[in-house]
């Protein structure tokens, strides 16, 4: 148990989603074990003792976006509602609990909300998330809330500007110091076509690790595959991209076997992309700026309500097509394959990026870096333009 706590505390630091030293984790087996910053660790114990649950994570997020969202929300709001696909599907909404409500018994207030949702934002505390089945699940829920807040905050700022004292400075700091340059330089990819299953598995594991190491995606947000003849080697559902050893399924193209029932929920999309493009490698992840930019549609008077799944249009973000589509058996597998062939990349509304490699993963990886970099640039171009407009009108 203690090694598990150390593992996930380490991941929260490595993926830079939590402030160093501001993590508390509790797990209960037959006894309760907790570690981390004393106040947060105590809080997780108190929360967990009120829940039928295996583990709880509480941490100060490395970026203040969750806190800002909470303070920007209406005084009577009980939750914030990010509209990215991950949140719609898995979180629904994210409850918020304000400082005043935490005054008496903070653990009770947080546990009451966590008894209904996977993660909450507590003012002055951070993100608290639960794992009913495993501690990893609490880590995943923490990451999901962090990701959702990141995306929503960026969207809100572009829409409404800065509203709180200190917000603009914090954002400037984020822009200057937190964003790592995205690059595929100094990474080694296998150049030739791979046929040997062992080499394929090794390459998938390596590239999966690269995506997380380079800050392109968070650990478990994405999937990856490689086609050899009539077999697709694909990462399993809910697998972490940086820990794919033993988590890759070989799936026959013709569904002769159902072994791939544990494969990623995007298996169908991968299969269709292979059929449509003849590619050998596919990379799918949820880089944040691409998710943000995909949700900015300028169409006026459009009758479609659920853009994320029902939009029939193909929009362009630079040279990258953007289409709608739900995870799994939801239409993404219909809309992505026809548009991804020529540009080698596509974005799914509110969800993430698919890229292909005609020879191997290098092209796919470069494309993903390229899409996310351009989306980042475009985001800041629009933000700067907005600031310019604002200062002119002042």
């Amino acid at each position: 148990m203690r090694s598990l706590i150390a593992k996930f505390a380490g991941k929260l630091h490595r993926d830079r989603s939590a402030v160093q030293g501001r993590v508390g984790i509790a797990v209960q087996d037959d006894v309760m074990i907790s570690e981390g910053a004393p106040d947060l660790s105590r809080l997780t114990v108190d929360v967990l003792s009120r829940l039928s649950c295996l583990g709880v994570v509480a941490a100060s997020p490395s970026l203040p976006f969750a806190e800002f969202l909470l303070r920007r929300a209406n005084a009577d709001a009980e939750a914030i509602v990010p509209l990215d696909t991950e949140t719609r599907t898995f979180l629904h909404d994210i409850p918020i609990v304000r400082r005043a409500e935490l005054a008496g018994d903070p653990a009770a207030a947080i546990a009451a909300l966590l008894s209904n949702r996977k993660g909450v934002i507590a003012e002055g505390v951070g993100i608290v998330a639960s794992g009913p089945v495993t501690l990893e699940q609490a880590y995943i829920h923490y990451s999901s809330v962090f990701h959702a807040c990141y995306v929503k905050y960026l969207l809100d700022v572009l829409q409404d500007g800065f509203l709180l004292p200190g917000e603009e400075d914090a954002f400037r700091d984020f822009r200057k110091t937190s964003l790592r340059p995205l690059t595929s330089e100094e990474l080694f990819f296998s150049a030739s076509h791979l046929d040997d299953p062992e080499e394929v598995l090794a390459e998938i594991r390596t590239v999966g690790r690269y995506t997380v190491q380079r800050g392109l995606v968070d650990s478990f947000f994405g999937n990856i595959s490689y086609r050899v003849g009539e077999t697709i080697f694909i990462s399993q559902t809910a697998a972490s991209l940086d820990e794919l050893a033993g988590c890759i399924d070989p799936v026959p193209m013709d569904n002769r076997s159902t072994t791939g029932i544990t494969a990623s929920s995007e298996l169908l999309a991968h299969r269709r992309i292979y059929e449509a493009t003849g590619a050998r490698a596919i990379l799918h992840g949820h880089p944040k700026f691409a998710v943000v930019m995909s949700m900015l549609c300028e169409e006026k008077g459009c009758p479609v309500k659920d853009c994320w799944k029902d939009c029939p249009n193909v929009r362009m973000l630079g040279d990258t097509p953007v289409v709608a589509g739900e995870i799994g058996a939801g239409g993404l597998a219909v809309r992505v394959p026809p548009v991804i062939g020529a540009p080698g990349k596509a974005i799914v509304y509110g969800h993430g990026v698919f890229t292909i490699g005609r020879d191997g993963f290098e092209e796919a990886f470069r494309s993903m870096v390229d899409v996310e970099s351009r989306c980042r640039e475009e985001y800041f171009r629009r933000l700067d333009a907005r600031a310019g407009r604002q200062s002119k009108s002042e």
Partner: protein, 578 residues
């Protein structure tokens, strides 16, 4: 709950029937289904299963009859003649929905009729019909004869003849299987129950309901196990055949091996190709995991194909489908039937051939020849043959098709299940094998005691709702609490539901304890601790470490608030429950 709910109480000895309102407070603490049934047994839980006064409760849940996905299921609860434990089983089809539409949340049947009868229930009332002409008929003929009376739950010859693993069969082909409740009805001379109703169930907050339902459906679509192109919606539960082969945990030749080379003969894709399998589902279920052949007969589930296949070393799909047909018509549990034949096969040194199996199944149902002994299930067969070690059962319930050496949570869950060796209580296959909602390490005991406890509580709530376990390969208790809140207009939380589940689970365990079950009964067959499974392809399947298993079991008891020997710290548990 805001709605006034009713139970029909039927005394077969006197023929008296009455509808009573169930107190709302009572429903708030037990929900319905399994929880309600278990509560209604209180006071009579130590009676013999075949005592006429032992009740059999048919109970649906508060979501039944609404468009809540997978919620039109029924729990049947009594005490099992096979295991001696408290027993519940959930079944789908149309029966649950029609029962609710007849204005009832539950039926409790007690007593014993002097002659065979059918209980016929409609919105207008209920009657007992003479059924002597149906006695000895197969389930198929019985259902056809009663088809103008709505949905039918019937027993076949196995139930009439007291086979200890006889089922109650729903007309659509679903079974109230495993524990032999068909024999309990048989002993009561109740051949069938028919239900037909026309009431529509109200939903207190439609907007909230629609939102929650959309959340559930979105999660179904995101789950490869449910709606993936290789998932159970496409191939039914036999989608697991290839996976269990690949994970090297398919029980083979009475659990002597864990890989069967002929498993491809009955995999999901093979069944589809051979029988033109079409999708079918329980009432209102979008998953539609049930599969029917092009001629309309229900095709077997994973556990059935695997046990009539690998467990008996048979790679003949048509023989397996015929075995399934026979068990369905005779009203007999497929898992126990196949596992009993397999144990008997090991004991005599030869597994039954495909040609022999049909005759043997009929002999069991009619209790003649070898069937007299075989009708008692594997434990009694093995003991009678002086080889108790060949019965691969826990608390006399035969283990299904997940070898515990390949998933340690499953190993623990088999022994802590209140109804014996069952995969559906904690259902750790969900995370140990299918990676839902997250993956856990199948070859580790670490944390498993707590995981099993939480899952048992959650699933006891799910069985009380009564929703389908398969829904939870995508959705979670969070979305179902929301559906329940929307239907009842009262707020329910996942935590609150788990507390109900815990109460139900502990009540069952307490009943079992009062019937003499102790830690010694919470054990796996010795084979799993001394013999390895079939290692290979980079997967090592060693015997389970008995010391580590025992340690985790002790942890489990502590987490449950029990003594280290698995007993209750005091005798006042029931009095403290509502």
């Amino acid at each position: 709950m805001s709605l006034r709910e009713h139970i029909l109480i039927v005394d077969l000895s006197s023929g008296r029937m009455r509808r009573e309102e169930i107190s709302p407070e009572f429903l708030g603490t037990y929900l319905g289904g399994r929880g309600l049934g278990v509560r209604l047994l209180r006071g009579r839980h130590t009676l013999s299963p075949f005592d006429p006064s032992m009740p059999v409760v048919f109970a649906v849940g508060p979501l039944c009859g609404t468009p809540a996905p997978t919620s039109a299921r029924i729990s049947v609860v009594s005490r099992s003649p096979l295991t001696g434990t408290v027993y519940d089983c959930s079944a789908g089809g149309r029966f649950a929905w029609r029962l609710r539409a007849a204005g009832l949340l539950a039926i409790l049947v007690e007593g014993r009729s002097a002659r065979p009868v059918v209980l016929a229930v409609t919105s207008a009332g209920e009657e007992l019909l003479p059924a002597s002409d149906l006695w000895a008929k197969g389930v198929g003929d019985t259902v056809r004869a009663l088809s103008d009376r709505g949905s039918v739950a019937a027993i076949g010859p196995a139930g009439e003849n007291g086979v200890l693993f006889s089922s109650i069969m729903m007309g659509e082909g679903n079974a109230v299987g495993r524990g032999g409740l068909g024999a309990v009805l048989g002993m009561k001379n109740l051949k069938a129950v028919t239900v037909d109703g026309d009431r529509v169930m109200p939903v207190a907050d439609r907007e909230r309901f629609d939102r929650a339902r959309a959340d559930v459906l979105r999660l179904f679509r995101a789950s490869p196990v449910i709606f993936g192109e290789l998932g159970i919606s496409e191939y039914g539960t036999p989608a697991l055949v290839d996976l269990m082969r690949q994970r090297r945990m398919a029980p083979t030749e009475n659990f002597r091996r864990t890989v069967f080379v002929g498993a491809g003969a009955y995999s999901g894709p093979t069944i589809r190709a051979a029988y033109g399998a079409k999708k079918e589902g329980c009432y209102g279920c979008p998953i539609r995991c049930k599969k029917r052949a092009s001629d309309g007969r229900p095709l077997p589930e994973y556990e059935t194909v695997s046990h009539f296949g690998a467990l008996n070393a048979i790679a003949d799909l048509h023989s397996i489908v015929r075995s399934n047909d026979a068990c369905n018509d005779l009203g007999m549990d497929t898992i126990t039937a196949a596992a009993t034949l397999s144990a008997w096969g090991e004991a005599r040194g030869r597994f039954p051939s495909p040609e022999e199996i049909g005759t043997l199944l009929h002999d069991i149902a009619h209790r003649r020849g070898e069937g007299i002994l075989l009708s008692e299930g594997s434990r009694r067969v093995a003991e009678a043959l002086g080889m108790p070690g060949v019965s691969m059962s826990v608390k006399s319930l035969e283990l299904p098709a997940y070898d515990p050496r390949g998933a340690y949570g499953m190993a623990l869950a088999y022994v802590t299940s209140n109804r014996g060796g069952c995969h559906l209580r904690a259902y750790p296959i969900s995370h140990e094998i299918l990676r839902k909602p997250v993956a856990s390490d199948r070859f580790s005991f670490s944390g498993k005691a707590r995981m099993i406890k939480i899952a048992e509580d959650t699933n006891a709530a799910v069985d009380s709702l009564v929703a389908c376990k398969f829904a939870f390969f995508g959705a979670s208790i969070e979305e179902y609490a929301e559906l329940l809140s929307a239907v009842t207009g009262e707020d329910h939380t996942p935590q609150g539901l788990k507390e109900i589940g815990e109460r139900v689970y502990l009540t069952e365990r307490f009943y079992n304890a009062e019937n003499g079950f102790t830690r010694a009964d919470d054990d796996l067959p010795a084979r799993f601790f001394s013999e390895a499974g079939s290692s290979g392809e980079g997967i090592d399947v060693p015997p389970i470490d008995r010391a580590r298993f025992g340690e985790e079991l002790t942890k489990y008891y502590r987490i449950r608030g029990l003594r280290d020997d698995g007993s209750f710290p005091d005798g006042g548990f029931l009095e403290r429950q509502p």
